[in-house]
């Protein structure tokens, strides 16, 4: 008895230290049974964002295309490469461009990190837009996921703004004139347009103040806000019952479930009657599988694929760097970042309607979509027949936007005149 309660000797403690430290760090060994799989998900800080069990429909690659995950992983890549680039960057008009050249010439892996940051940024804008298309075309914004759609639209706008603020930082001709044009578009907003432009630039024109402001927004304010909204977005996925799925995916209990006939001679407790005479355990089809390893493997696969794509792009293509800023000589034509070229194309027809009126209506329409379209039919299916009208409207708007971006990018030459890109 006294032998059992005696504390182990120092020698024993030292000898067992590695294994004790290991087991205090990882509470569960690699799971071998369902109980272990469940506790792996909910006792690990990084894994407990997952449900213990996940619906099989969620794991269909062709349903989600992994677009939300890819957006998130691109955001992670952007955060990591961005923090690394901050070690060498100086937000000053006299130094910023030289630092870009240093990244090319002297910093180890400098150009590679800049390439990764640039291509991941463009990729994130594109993938977030595609993710939005996926959610709309599968009707996943419907009750009870209305508000998560609204958060998603906000995340899309934050992504655009993050990319836009980053555009100025290299302080080359492309950066300077893209931001000059972009902030001028903001200046067309009614009532507060001029104020918004002045607050953004901190001055009447793009200069040192604008560079500092865009830097602070880009490296501190926007990533923080984005992180907060991403957290809410993920949290609500869980609280809204996981990813959307068609009603058929949750098959009702088959008629074969037998009611237990109350027996005459048996005494029943009150609870026996409250719960009802049905025995559901084992009789209802279970369409869920354990997150560990099914969901985790899918996620790791998407992560590796995303990183591989960005690495490959960064090895093959260099991020553009033009001449240093020359305030006197705008390039002809001066173009905004590609995702704003649709806007710029519309601005060339009508400054107010193209730059502010139509984009504002488009965003408001996106935000209001789940509250305008309340029919519950067609959720969880791509291009559901019941959603023909909504999908047609959405696809039309997307195609119009894409056409404007393509025209602005490839078909506009000097003086914004129509040119053919094949000449």
């Amino acid at each position: 008895m006294s032998q059992d309660t005696k504390s182990p000797s120092l020698w024993t403690n030292l000898r067992e230290m590695p294994s004790n430290a290991w087991h205090s760090l990882f509470r569960n060994p690699l799971p071998a049974d369902d109980l272990g799989r469940a506790s792996t998900s909910f006792t690990n800080f990084f894994l407990h964002i997952h449900p213990v069990k996940v619906h099989m429909n969620t794991l269909r690659p062709l349903y989600t295309l992994g677009l939300g995950l890819i957006s998130f992983f691109l955001f992670l890549i952007l955060t990591l490469t961005g923090v690394l680039l901050m070690f060498y960057y100086v937000p000053s008009t006299s130094q910023a461009y030289d630092r870009m050249l240093d990244l090319r010439g002297t910093v180890a892996f400098g150009i590679f990190l800049r390439n990764m940051h640039r291509w991941a940024a463009h990729g994130m804008v594109g993938v977030v837009a595609l993710h939005m298309c996926r959610v709309f075309l599968t009707g996943s914004y419907k009750k009870p996921r209305e508000f998560n759609w609204v958060i998603g639209v906000v995340l899309f706008l934050l992504t655009l703004f993050s990319s836009f603020t980053g555009y100025l930082l290299p302080w080359d001709q492309l950066a300077f004139w893209a931001i000059t044009v972009g902030t001028s578009i903001a200046g067309y907003a009614p009532v507060f347009g001029k104020e918004i432009k002045f607050l953004l630039l901190g001055d009447a024109t793009v200069g040192q103040e604008a560079l500092l402001r865009f830097y602070v927004l880009h490296v501190a304010v926007l990533p923080l806000v984005l992180t907060l909204f991403v957290a809410i977005h993920f949290w609500r996925i869980r609280k809204d019952g996981g990813l959307s799925r068609p009603a058929e995916a949750d098959a009702p209990a088959p008629a074969a479930v037998k009611a237990v006939e109350p027996k005459q001679n048996k005494t029943y407790g009150l609870q026996g009657f409250v719960r009802g005479p049905f025995s559901k355990v084992g009789n209802v089809p279970d369409n869920t599988v354990f997150s560990w390893p099914n969901l985790i493997i899918a996620e790791v696969f998407v992560l590796v694929l995303t990183i591989a794509c960005i690495l490959l792009l960064s090895m093959v293509f260099d991020a553009p760097l033009e001449e240093p800023v020359n305030v006197m000589h705008p390039p002809n034509p001066a173009k905004a970042p590609w995702y704003f070229l649709g806007l710029q194309e519309m601005v060339s027809y009508s400054a107010f309607w193209g730059g502010v009126g139509i984009p504002t209506m488009f965003v408001l329409l996106l935000l209001a979509a789940p509250y305008l379209d309340r029919r519950p039919a067609g959720v969880g299916k791509w291009f559901a027949r019941e959603r023909l009208l909504a999908n047609t409207i959405f696809i039309t708007l997307v195609v119009v936007n894409v056409v404007f971006v393509i025209v602005g990018t490839f078909f506009r030459g000097p003086n914004w005149e129509f040119i053919s890109p094949w000449k």
Binding site: S184, P330, S348, A351, W416
Partner: protein
Amino acid sequence: MAADPKGGHAHAPAGASGVNRRSLLGWLSGFGLLGSAVLSAFSNLIFIKPRATYGQPQRFSLGKPEEFPPGTRISMDTRRVCVVREGNKIAAISTTCTHLGCIVGVSDTGFACPCHGSRFDQDGNVTGGPAPKPLPWFKVTLAPNGEIEIDKDSEVDPGSYLTV
């Protein structure tokens, strides 16, 4: 408090409007907190709006009127302004395109923007392209030391000249 519903509510004299002391205080403190939040958000806006800009001054002098002989139209790209002298009248027209902020160049017929093809006449009125507004004219004054001074913060009606 909440655990004793009799004490809290039964003795409170419920007015005709149904407002009792607790809900009134609740509303007032909620309103106060919200008001403070709005005020602090507003003061942040005031904070990030610079009172002084560190870039190019909006108000600057350009030398004696004699440096601009009659009939000259000199575009000063660094200042983004074009000084026009006709006879003994001097004016300053902005060379920042009202479309998307590029610098317009002086052309035979007035001004032309290289970015998106906006064209303006001699007085800055739009004659073509996407520009929505004419080029603004800035206030020109004669400083005590005899130099002409341009204030880009105050726009004047087109056709307002300074007579020297």
